[in-house]
Amino acid sequence: MRDAIDTGDLMHVGRVRDRSEAVAKLTGEAVYASDLAFPGMLHAQVVKSPHARARIRRIDTSKAEALPGVRAVLTGAELEYRLGLYIVDKHILARNEVRHFGEAVAAVAADTLEIARAAAELVEVDYEVLAAVLNHMDALKEGAPLVHPDLGSYDYVAAVFSPKPGTNIANLTKLRKGDVEKGFAEAEWIVEREYTNPSVQHVPMETHVAIVEWRTGDQVTIWSSAQSPFTVRNLFCYAFKLPHNNVRVIVPHVGGGFGGKAGIHLEPLCACLSRKAGGRPVKFQATREEEFSLLPCRSALTYRIKTGVGADGRITAQKMTMYWDAGAYADYAVNVTRASGYSGAGPYEIPNAWLDAYTLYTNKPYGTAYRGFGHVEFFWGLERHMELVAEAIGMDPLEFRRRNALRPGSRTLTGETITTHSGDVVKCIDAVAASIGWGRTSPDEAAHEARTGRRIGKGIAALHKAPAMPPFTATAVVVKMNSDATVIVNLGLTEIGQGSTTMIAQIVAERLRFDLSKVHVVVDKDTSRDPYDWQTVASKGIVLSGNAAVLACDDLLRQAYDVAAQALRAQPCDLDHDGEKVFVVHHPEQSVSFAALSVGYTFPNGNAVGGPLIGVGRYIAQGLTNLDKETGQGNPALDWTYGAHGVVVEVDPASGEYRVLKIASAFD
């Protein structure tokens, strides 16, 4: 949905406004899942594998069970439930075999955290250590141990992903465009190199935490630090075969997510402990150390790129192979692979392109979503590659990028045609180049070099990004008017620090023409109260929920006008409104206040019409398609963002120590 809006006329959107929930956070009043405690609440601890891969021979929990204050002890043998976002490959506790260091093999719930810790130490596990796959580049080798020998029996999202049973390949995403061999034959130069990125951790300030109460009749309430409450609910219900209306997920303030809290993590374990402990709520909060092994990380990547370039500096062909390290479970890594695959050529036109992107199982902590969803990792390799190709062919790296950049008429890797309405990456490159004084050393910079003995270097990188989401990505917003004409807004988008609460309030106030103080967007999320939202990921929050908020306001205003038309004896088309009232356009003195309309209008004689004004807006991603599994052709992107960065750094030639002096960024 696109409205042509003159931003100069806007009252709230695009204006600096106080952050809605800042005061609660500044005073310490904001409540996070880690702050919650309930009567009778038990504390959980897990027993973790000290091995990357091992067979579990025997687990003896008898000493732990005998410890006073212990209310439940669980091992994987009791839990035949499997979880997974796209490939259902993970047990709640390891069964028979552990697949990574730090994997949970047993769990306890006790009256206090101290007792739970002591009980966890009393659990005896007898392991038979097995050969492990510790490097993703070894996972494809002949005779490599299989991390998931039963891969062929797992459920998975077949429309999108392609696991290869009998191997460590959790998914292979393919992109094919043109004839890559013909393109290489036409090339004057061919440059082939490999680039690697390590795995890293999200390190949210608040570690993962869940509290779950499994009451009689399979009524389950989950309090969690999760980014995506509906995903937690739906995957939880899938694993336990429960109807969605039995399970309620509540997410209060979240102390940072960055993708690491996007999936389902500690909730099923706490649920099983609660069920075993007779329904008492069970809390488990990961330690900082557990964030590094029990919980997921960003996947490592090895990116191999072979580029053919013609005599004119234009790329004729590019063959790209990505090797993503999923770790022990596929989680989001398969989708990171897909997203980085269809974005993998960057904002450049490659007439003949061939890309294979593998997600590889290894015996390491598993990868998940992480800020940028694969783009930061592959762009480091791709932009380094552009630099080195330019050097090899003796061309200015800025000019090399400009010459190969996507322009109107270009076709992308997935077959989309760039138009004049697409973002303009050349403009971004030129803007940052001008900002950092590309290609020259200014008198000030020369003086700086002479004074400090350090050398000044300048670099440019271009980018594009299309967030990964399924074609059916949807959301809804509900705007409810109170009898004093203030409004409460409910939506499933989670506030994790990105400011969505404030932005939605600005959009609602703008559309209703209300003062911002009259709009309250509820921070905490509750799947039994709030309308469905797919997930809080993929940079989709404001574009999807924002559009839903606009439509919800329109719905509420339509209802208000219908009632006002009766109250004012006028047609709805002759009405207008301001921040206080609905009035007749030609006779503005004939008006009725929103407060008088808010929960039903009462005529002087007592007759009443209308009812509570509640606007509902729904929005769904437009025009996305599944990608062809053999060629990757299709439309994966709600929208592409284009951009470029330019940096000025000083480097000490003796030590290599460097400092960034300036960064310029441009986006379109």
């Binding site: 500044l26 005073t27 310490g28 702050d35 303030h253 940072g256 330690t287 900082r288």
Partner: protein, 161 residues
């Protein structure tokens, strides 16, 4: 052991086990959950409180050490429902995102300004070096501190074309 101390001017007496940290007593026994546990190892600063006016990581202080001392936490920063000048400046400069580090950050700034009413940017950086922010809002915190101390540069950080 039995200890007596004040928190934000209120007197408390508690029986505490020797291994209990000040952070756990504040959060779990006094219900003051504004001080957060981000690491439990003195690295992240989310639990910063003032102990006799000095900023400390409450996760690294045994409750027993608080005996006879005065503790100030983020809950005592606003008075009668009014934000302090530091809190107002943080709000104005959007120096708050997920908020999990915010309480500790404010307490560190409070100690810094008590020692040094006009800190330079370098001194502000040193003052908050024990407080991690993963939403990467340090620049806004620095600008908030420059603003509340009446110094220039409060709006000079990020240039928007």
């Amino acid at each position: 052991m039995r200890i007596a101390f004040t928190v934000n001017g209120q007197r408390y007496e508690r029986e505490v086990a020797g291994h209990r940290t000040l952070l756990h007593v504040l959060r779990e026994e006094l219900g003051l959950t504004g001080s957060k546990e981000g690491c439990g190892a003195g690295e992240c600063g989310a639990c910063t409180v003032l102990l006799d006016g000095r900023a400390v990581n409450a996760c690294m202080v045994l409750a027993a050490e608080a005996d006879g001392r005065a503790i100030e936490t983020i809950e005592g920063e606003a008075k009668q429902g009014r934000l302090s000048a530091i809190q107002e400046a943080f709000n104005r400069h959007h120096a708050v995102q997920c908020g999990f580090c915010t309480g500790g950050m404010v307490m560190s700034v409070r100690e810094l300004l008590a020692r040094n009413p006009k800190p330079t940017v370098e001194q502000i950086r040193e003052g908050i070096e024990g407080n991690f922010c993963r939403c990467t809002g340090y620049q806004q915190v620095i600008e908030a501190v420059l603003d509340v101390t009446g110094q220039p540069g409060a709006n000079g950080g990020l240039r928007h074309a």
